[in-house]
Symmetry: C2
Subunit: 253 residues, 2 copies
């Protein structure tokens, strides 16, 4: 833990800040655990993975969404918080941010294809539950966010006024989309357990090991997401606005 330079006790109203890199290592561990837990749940209790319209195809849905929409997305939004990104050219960090969010987007599309393919093969209706509404909202916002980010911040001919006006909106929706993805993941896990743990197996209400495990996964996703949101909101980790830096990078700042 690092206190502000003024002394050993934080100033009134100031949260003691942690060092960014150890905090990121913790986040990376938690994110990896989210993916491993989701994979283990699908493999151990839900029959594993396939691409054949069965529940094994459905299993690609949670793994793609957790990996893409939460973990890769979480890594992508924290790129500008890496202290070494603050000096020197911004372009490599921008490309990394765009590449990570693009990889997340590809996984999200695969995750959607998996669940729609499974539903259509089984004759199950799509898009009726609150989980699906939240998830679709997250994906739609995420798509617009990527396209707008690319247009405003990567195309060299986008005007400076557009970047200035759009940047805080982009930053705000970055957190909002993550919150939507968290709510969608949690309602999705809850819903999946009600579908899967019925009287044919052991009911959810009897809290079998699978329920313990997947409930814990839900709590883990919540902790991971809240810590990413906290890291995003921590003023000490924000990239300082540097006009001179932007003057040196007139096209691709």
């Amino acid at each position: 833990m690092v206190f502000p330079p003024s002394g050993a006790v934080p100033a009134a109203g100031v949260m003691p800040t942690f060092q960014f890199l150890p905090f990121s290592a913790l986040l990376g561990t938690l994110g990896l655990l989210c993916v491993v837990f989701t994979g283990f749940w699908s493999q151990h209790w839900r029959g594993g993975f396939a691409w054949d319209g069965s529940t094994k195809m459905f299993n690609w849905h949670p793994i793609c969404m957790v990996t893409g929409m939460l973990v890769l997305y979480g890594a992508a939004v924290l790129v500008y918080r890496v202290p070494s990104s603050w000096a020197g050219p911004k372009l490599p960090w921008k490309l990394l941010h765009a590449a990570l969010t693009l990889a997340a987007f590809v996984l999200v599309v695969l995750g959607l294809v998996a669940v729609f393919g499974f539903h259509n093969a089984q004759g199950t209706p799509n898009m009726y539950s609150l989980h699906s509404w939240l998830g679709l909202a997250a994906v739609l916002f995420f798509s617009c966010q990527w396209l707008m980010g690319f247009t405003a911040f990567l195309l060299p001919w986008s005007p400076a006024w557009l970047r200035i006006i759009y940047k805080p909106v982009h930053v705000f929706f970055g957190s909002t989309i993550l919150a939507l993805a968290m709510a969608a993941s949690i309602s999705g896990i809850n819903e999946k357990l009600f579908f899967s743990l019925t009287n044919k197996t052991v009911p959810y209400a009897k809290l079998p090991p699978e329920a313990w495990f997947a409930n814990s996964l839900g709590m883990l996703i919540l902790v991971f997401g809240l810590l990413v949101l906290w890291a995003l909101a921590t003023p000490a980790w924000k990239r300082p606005e540097s006009e001179s830096l932007e003057d040196r990078q007139p096209l691709l700042h």
Copy 2:
């Protein structure tokens, strides 16, 4: 919309800020709609309210939780953002904050009694779903938050160092508890619709009017909660730290 005083265009990276009071009026309307929607859902589709161990007793659970843990809580956390609270004594605003959160706490306890009473009367197990885990975490954190807040900020003999160190922690958990309550509400609505809309009525998957209505309530709760979190995070609305003010209010600042 009010831009920063420097001119008609916001400075780079600065979100244009809205006026707090009209924004609060919007939040108040959305919060009221959340309560009215929850009441209408219970009254119109779920049989109304009673305190007899039936599903009518359960119906007190969502109405108490949405009113207490989201709407009253949302009002309570925004008390210090009211611009007129920044000048003059802090104590009346503190008492209002404590009273609103206490009222929220009473409703939350009633909401818990309603659901445990219903489960016990029906022989349904308690505390197995991810929704219930999230909800219990929210309530436990909220209880600790209230007790710690009372101890540190209202008891006149609490030491200044405790207030200084604890304040940012209290502020951080204020947002975290709201996020937990949002995730619990959304997974709870999703779960309730799967319980209620079965083949005996019209299945959830057929998206009957009740499903449309309650899904919309879930989205409304999300929008309300995210806007409260946004208001909390907006730097322009934060109460300025005033050392001189605290000097004048040595005991009850």
